[in-house]
């Protein structure tokens, strides 16, 4: 494990979707696992998320979407990070994401997608292995 500062994660809800049960549970699980957590609250545009992530100096953004707009919203978030030179912020996503969409999202730069039923422990372990303080 890296010494010094703890992993900082932004849990974000892009778009107009109000299903925040998953996002809030994940935020709590991250906090309980010892990460620092920033939760954006609902109804954020990708622009707002990226700006806040840079300002908060997070190591990872976890995007949650359950209303079908993930293709545009996730990919736009990754693009904006790249534009701002912040592509070292790891982006992962979760929610109702059809299996077929996952390769395309990963190709665009989303590092991992967690679909319904993934145990919290599995997600936390993934973060520990794949995200380092920047």
């Amino acid at each position: 494990m890296a010494q010094g500062r703890r992993i900082r994660i932004m849990v974000a809800k892009p778009g107009l979707d109000g299903h925040d049960r998953g996002a809030r549970i994940i935020a709590r699980a991250y906090r309980d696992a010892g990460f620092e957590v920033v939760y954006t609250g609902l109804h954020q545009t990708p622009e707002e998320i990226v700006e806040a992530a840079i300002q908060e100096d997070v190591d990872m953004i976890g995007l949650s979407s359950l209303a079908g707009a993930h293709k545009y919203l996730f990919i736009r978030t990754v693009e904006l990070l790249r534009e701002k030179g912040a592509e070292d912020i790891v982006v992962c996503g979760g929610g109702i994401i059809p299996e077929e969409d996952i390769p395309m999202l990963k190709e665009a730069g989303v590092k991992e997608i967690f679909t319904p039923g993934t145990p919290l422990g599995v997600i936390v372990e993934w973060v520990e292995q794949n995200v380092k303080p920047r």
Binding site: G18, G68, A69, R76, E100, P119, L120
Partner: protein, 561 residues
């Protein structure tokens, strides 16, 4: 008074119980009980057995009675399903108004008896399809409605003078309802005959579903406008569907769902009374919407307790005299959150059990989820299986032959009493906080739900609660399921359509209408007539909602977790 059990029998029962428990101890000494603790989905502990001693004070007239009679534990209508079955009302909405219209025609042809509309996220939030906030969301989880033109296409060829329509819409409920009324009037159908429901329940949005626009107080004011207007102008319309469904989906327990929903109902009734309306004029048009989750008996007890509690609230607290005001009529949807992406065909079975609980609980209408809803919007085939599930329950299983078949079950009656008691405690707490509006400001229900949701997830992760195919009986094989894709072209086409409407309308007239709407908002006059005028002149959804946002301000998520 009609005490169900004679006190004398309890001694005998107690003796019998002791004897039986002795037997049990012997058995469990060699092979212990299957679980350390037996509990419901809501983690309520359940006893080994229930006897008359668990419902010792049960009074037939006071607590159970007959259907159609106070306190309505057994059902609101005297005849219940012996007269008419529940309304099979499948929620549908996808893509454009024309796409959804096609699905509606299919469902009506397959025997569905009421329509139910799902809107896309921009519509639910009061944005037009061309708003930057709508990017990527148009038509995705429901139908996109920008103007009256879309509403006309949505109900084209459907007999809206005979069939009732439910619209799941909240912050812009007044606008969509105005569009529906305008559409009907343009077809020559007077508003007096229109039957249906707008969800129009903002309190549960702040608590759970999180589709919000204006702050809580003006939101309740707009709702009260619709209640007032409906009472006078559209008497067959249910102006609010007070919803526990989303509270439960957000992770609450069954009792929290029950208590928060009824507390919301109290808040709306108080607002309407404050407006000067007579409770017996508006209360009969209040309807409810509950979740039916997997824990069979807990759900049935919840529905029975809800009816009994609302009857008491209306009669004792609001002094309603019309028995119709005492009725808690409710729609049910099976629990979306109980479905699993893994082994999705299992969802048909889950939904069937949940639907059965809703029927045994005396629901007035029911939506059964499709097996693929955890993956995407339902395909036609999946939606048809879900509808068939209801038809099998209704016409093959025999459960609708008698009214409230579980009435008198020691277990169900004890559970009904217990849930009622616990829900009153929560309602009293909310009263002490100064009502639901201040409880929401204090984040009380939001925090309670977040805690319950986390507890539930932990239990699944720690395998204290089984989810078949997820934490037990897992297979590596993927089950291919056909998924409904929404065409990405749709967004562009919808924007084009709205632009066309805007270029063909009388813009000066629209501006005048919006000014009149602004005045009504500012001067505290009922918004409905100005709204109907505005949408008849093809003002867009967002143009009218922008008036609300400008006058009342916008609400932001406090981001509790």
């Amino acid at each position: 008074m009609s005490q169900v059990f004679d006190r004398k029998v309890f001694e005998e029962i107690e003796k019998g119980r002791k004897k039986w428990e002795k037997e049990l101890e012997k058995i469990f000494a060699s092979a212990p009980e299957r679980l350390e603790r037996f509990s419901t989905v809501s983690d309520r502990e359940i006893e080994r057995i229930y006897t008359p001693a668990d419902v010792a004070d049960l009074d037939f007239e006071r607590d159970i009675g007959f259907p159609g009679q106070f306190p309505f534990t057994r059902g609101v209508q005297p005849s219940m399903y012996r007269g008419r079955l529940w309304t099979m009302r499948m929620f549908a909405g996808l893509g454009t108004a024309k796409d959804t219209n096609k699905r509606f025609h299919l469902l009506v042809k397959e025997g569905q008896t009421g329509l139910s509309t799902a809107f896309d996220m921009p519509t639910l939030m009061g944005y037009d399809s061309d708003s930057p906030r709508s990017r990527g969301e148009c038509g995705k989880c429901g139908v996109a409605i920008d103007t009256l033109k879309d509403m006309e296409d949505l109900f084209d060829g459907l007999p809206i003078d005979r069939i009732t329509t439910s619209m799941t819409i909240n912050p812009p409920a007044s606008v969509l309802w105005a569009m529906y009324i305008a559409m009907a009037e343009k077809r020559g159908i007077p508003r007096k005959v229109l039957g249906g429901t707008i969800q129009n329940d903002m309190l549960k949005e702040f608590i759970a579903q999180k589709t919000f626009m204006c702050p809580p107080e003006p939101s309740v004011r707009i709702i009260t406008d619709t209640v007032e207007f409906g009472t006078k102008e559209v008497p067959k319309w249910n102006t609010i569907s007070i919803s526990g469904y989303h509270i439960r989906e957000a992770g609450s327990t069954a009792v929290q769902e029950l208590a928060f929903t009824l507390a919301d109902g109290i808040a709306y009734a108080e607002a309407a009374v404050e407006r000067g309306l007579d409770v017996d004029d508006f209360a009969p048009r209040f309807s409810f919407f509950f979740n039916s989750h997997l824990d069979f008996f807990e759900e049935i007890a919840k529905f029975r307790a809800a009816r009994r509690m609302w009857a008491k609230i209306m009669k004792d607290r609001f002094k309603a005299k019309n028995p119709r005001s005492w009725w808690l009529r409710f729609h049910t949807q099976t629990a979306g959150c109980s479905l699993t992406a893994q082994q999705p065909y299992n969802n048909v079975v889950r939904t069937a059990l949940e639907a059965l609980a809703a029927v045994l609980g005396g629901a007035q209408s029911l939506h059964t989820n499709s097996l693929d809803e955890v993956l995407a919007l339902p395909t036609e085939e999946a939606a048809t299986i879900a509808l068939r599930t209801q038809q099998i329950i209704a016409e093959e299983s025999g459960v609708a032959n008698t009214i409230d078949p579980l009435g008198g079950s020691y277990f169900v009656e004890a559970l009904t009493n217990q849930m009622e008691e616990e829900a009153w405690e929560i309602i009293n707490k909310i009263d002490e906080m100064g009502g639901m509006l201040s409880a929401i400001e204090k984040n009380y229900p939001q925090q309670e739900i977040a805690d319950a949701a986390y507890h539930y997830q932990k239990r699944i992760d720690e395998k204290q609660r089984t989810v078949v195919g997820v934490n037990k009986y897992v297979t590596d094989e993927e089950t291919p399921v056909e998924i409904l894709e929404i065409d990405e072209e749709l967004e562009r086409l919808q924007i084009e359509k709205t632009n066309r409407v805007k270029s063909e309308r009388d813009n000066k007239k629209v501006q005048e209408c919006l000014e009149r709407l602004t005045e009504a908002c500012v001067e505290d006059r009922n918004v409905m007539e100005p709204l109907i005028d505005a949408v008849k002149n093809y003002a867009t959804l967002q143009e009218t909602c922008d008036v609300y946002r400008k006058v009342f301000g916008e609400y932001r998520d406090p981001g509790i977790y």
